[in-house]
């Protein structure tokens, strides 16, 4: 049977296109405008070509922020993914406690980002914070406002607290979709716990894990609010991640040109990494099907 081609259907996409144009594409164009021009206010622009881009690409400040950013994303992925899987494996499969755990796990996800930041900012304070004060009372020298390592630990623990649930819930959904017969067959085949994980649970979770890793990577690579509230990028520049640096540059120093060039590259980098990541993972999948 021949399919009828009706190109008029494309008009149905128009409303979305208009909306997206006004909410995303046009504002982005403003950024593009700033990236290629220099301005001294009064809406006067001077063509700057790719000067800003050159400045940013060679900027040590940006390299350092990028380094910190990559390190941060890798660390939280290395913690949250295995931890999320571990939690999902140990959550009850049904009954009251299953619902209880689900609600409990969902709670951190429901808290607005700046509230999460504020919670941890206070929680970690040595003078009034439960965590900071307890650690101090135990004789541990902990102060996230002075010590870069403490600041890093605080920001990472906060992110793990905030987002591991997402990985756990996604994995849990993946695990719930495994028919009971698989576990029964594994018992019959005398498989070890590890084999059950390796050959039944992990393959079934692969799809959701891919999404979890992608989401967590993108989010952590763009992280702004929480560390900004807790450490403000400090002490010094030690927790200044890319977006914090960007905001400092744009709204703090009012260097709109470099900041615009920076954000365009930032956007493209995230897009590129996500695309590469997704392509590699889906290709692996296809290879296996052969």
């Amino acid at each position: 049977m021949e399919k009828t081609q009706n190109n008029k259907a494309w008009f149905l996409v128009l409303p979305v296109l208009v909306l997206v144009a006004f909410s995303a594409i046009l504002p982005l164009m403003t950024v593009v405008n700033y990236a290629f021009n220099d301005t001294f206010g009064q809406n006067e622009f001077f063509w700057a070509g790719i000067d800003w881009f050159e400045e940013m690409v060679t900027s040590d400040r940006l390299h350092e922020a990028l380094g910190r950013q990559v390190l941060f994303s890798l660390i939280i992925l290395a913690i949250e993914v295995p931890l999320g899987i571990f939690i999902a494996l140990n959550m009850p499969k049904s009954g009251f406690w299953a619902s209880f755990c689900l609600v409990l796990m969902a709670l951190p996800l429901l808290i607005p980002f700046n509230v999460v930041g504020t919670i941890w900012q206070i929680f970690g304070r040595v003078d009034i914070g439960l965590l900071g004060h307890t650690l101090a009372a135990m004789g541990i020298d902990y102060n996230y406002t002075n010590d870069p390592l403490d600041a890093w630990i605080t920001v990472i623990v906060m992110d793990v607290w905030h987002w591991t649930s997402l990985v756990a819930l996604l994995c849990y959904a993946g695990l719930q979709s495994i028919p009971q017969a698989y576990y029964q067959a594994a018992k019959i085949d005398q498989a070890t716990r590890w084999s059950v994980f390796r050959y039944i649970e992990l393959p079934k979770m692969k799809g959701v894990l891919l999404i979890a890793v992608l989401l967590r990577f993108m989010d952590s690579f763009m992280i702004y609010t929480e560390p900004f509230v807790v450490t403000g990028g400090g002490p010094g520049n030690s927790t200044t991640f890319l977006s914090i640096d960007l905001a400092k540059m744009a709204t703090g120093q009012f260097d709109l040109g470099p900041a615009a060039a920076f954000s365009i590259m930032y956007f493209l980098v995230i897009l590129l990494i996500s695309w590469v990541f997704y392509t590699v993972m889906t290709n692996l999948d296809r290879e296996e099907n052969r």
Binding site: A181, Y182, Q184, A185, D189, Q190, R290
Partner: protein, 356 residues
């Protein structure tokens, strides 16, 4: 390999069963002989799978014991029982190759590589998948996956028993017949105890030496196909085995005579008094329609290819008969029952004749 004994076994999925109806399996005592080929036959939901899962240890019975040989395994985990089970729907390890799938149970038991390679080769040949050994199991058809499941079930030579839970449901008819034949060959060759769950009587009767018929959580009869056919112990067996099933007619039985609808019928033996609903049962295959016997009203005649089935009524009760080749239904049809082929049922259970 060992004899499997079920002693005072009963199971309820309800933690606090109060009445008989709460039990998926009613109390039973059965012995499954070592090396026997059994078919577990019954309608859906009668407890077949529960019984199988209890034997394999996937379900712990709420009452009674399970013994392998003389060893009590009621509380032993599935892994300790060394038993194979093939499920209704294919279970394969997607990320493994067909070869690894087949080798998996052997590797888990720590067999040596040379033996595994040889054994996997044999099994692959048996299920006809030698050419696909290096393929990933994912992406194969349901048919092929189920063959792998069957292969995985048969790969261990030292198992105590192999349990099949309607394994051929998803397989196409031609392959079904072939695999069933292979299972029989396998049984003849290695003498494993095999229990084969099915709701298809042809499958049960061709596979097994002994057929176990279950009805409503009970084993109602355990016998050879011939016993099930000739002397069904329960009306359900009569109705379930044979096509069409046994004719069951309400009657009054006294001594060696049955009375139904004002006419009397001689029985092959003498029976004691019955206490509940009394029925006589006779296979359609033994009813002859001619101009002798009890008067019947013929409703219709169905041609099913090999023979024709007469759907009739005798004293207001439905009666089926199988018409011999070339035979016609006379204008004034009558049905004759060979007395020796009549069974008597009291409250659905067969009554043994006196002096037998």
């Amino acid at each position: 390999m060992s004899r499997i004994t079920l002693s005072k076994l009963a199971h309820s999925y309800n933690p606090n069963p109060t009445s008989d109806a709460d039990y998926a399996l009613k109390e039973m005592d059965h012995v499954w002989q070592d090396g026997g080929a059994y078919a577990l036959l019954g309608a859906s939901g009668c407890g077949k799978t529960t019984l199988l899962n209890i034997i394999s240890g996937l379900v712990r019975p709420s009452q009674g014991r399970v013994l392998f040989g003389d060893r009590d395994v009621t509380d032993a985990a599935t892994t300790e029982r060394n038993i194979a089970q093939v499920f209704q729907f294919p279970v394969v390890y997607d990320t493994m190759t067909v070869r690894d799938n087949l080798a998996f149970p052997l590797r888990n038991r720590g067999m040596d590589a040379a033996y595994i390679a040889k054994r996997v080769g044999q099994i692959a040949q048996m299920i006809g998948m030698e050419a696909d050994l290096n393929r990933k199991a994912r992406g194969l058809t349901a048919d092929a996956k189920q063959k792998i499941s069957l292969g995985r079930g048969m790969v261990r030579e030292d198992v105590n028993a192999i349990l099949f839970d309607e394994p051929l449901t998803v397989i196409d008819p031609h392959m079904k017949w072939e695999l069933r034949t292979q299972l029989k060959d396998l049984h003849r060759e290695f003498g494993h105890t095999m229990i084969y769950v099915t709701h298809d009587q042809t499958e049960a009767l061709t596979f097994a030496q002994k057929v176990v018929v279950m009805y409503d959580g009970r084993v109602v009869q355990m016998g050879t196909p011939e016993e099930l056919f000739e002397t069904p112990a329960h009306t359900f067996v009569g109705y379930f085995i044979g096509s069409p099933g046994m004719n069951l007619l309400d009657a009054e039985v006294s001594g060696s005579e049955a009375r139904l609808g004002g006419v009397s019928l001689p029985l092959g033996a003498t029976y004691g008094a019955t206490t509940g609903r009394t029925q006589i049962g006779i296979r359609p295959d033994y009813v002859t329609i001619s101009d002798e016997g009890l008067p019947v009203t013929v409703k219709r005649v169905e041609d099913v290819g090999r023979h024709r089935i007469v759907r009739a009524e005798l004293a207001g009760q439905p009666l089926n008969a199988i018409l011999a080749e070339g035979q016609t239904v006379p204008a004034d049809p009558r049905a004759a029952f060979p007395p020796a082929k009549i069974n008597v049922y009291d409250n659905d259970w067969r009554v043994s004749p006196m002096g037998a």
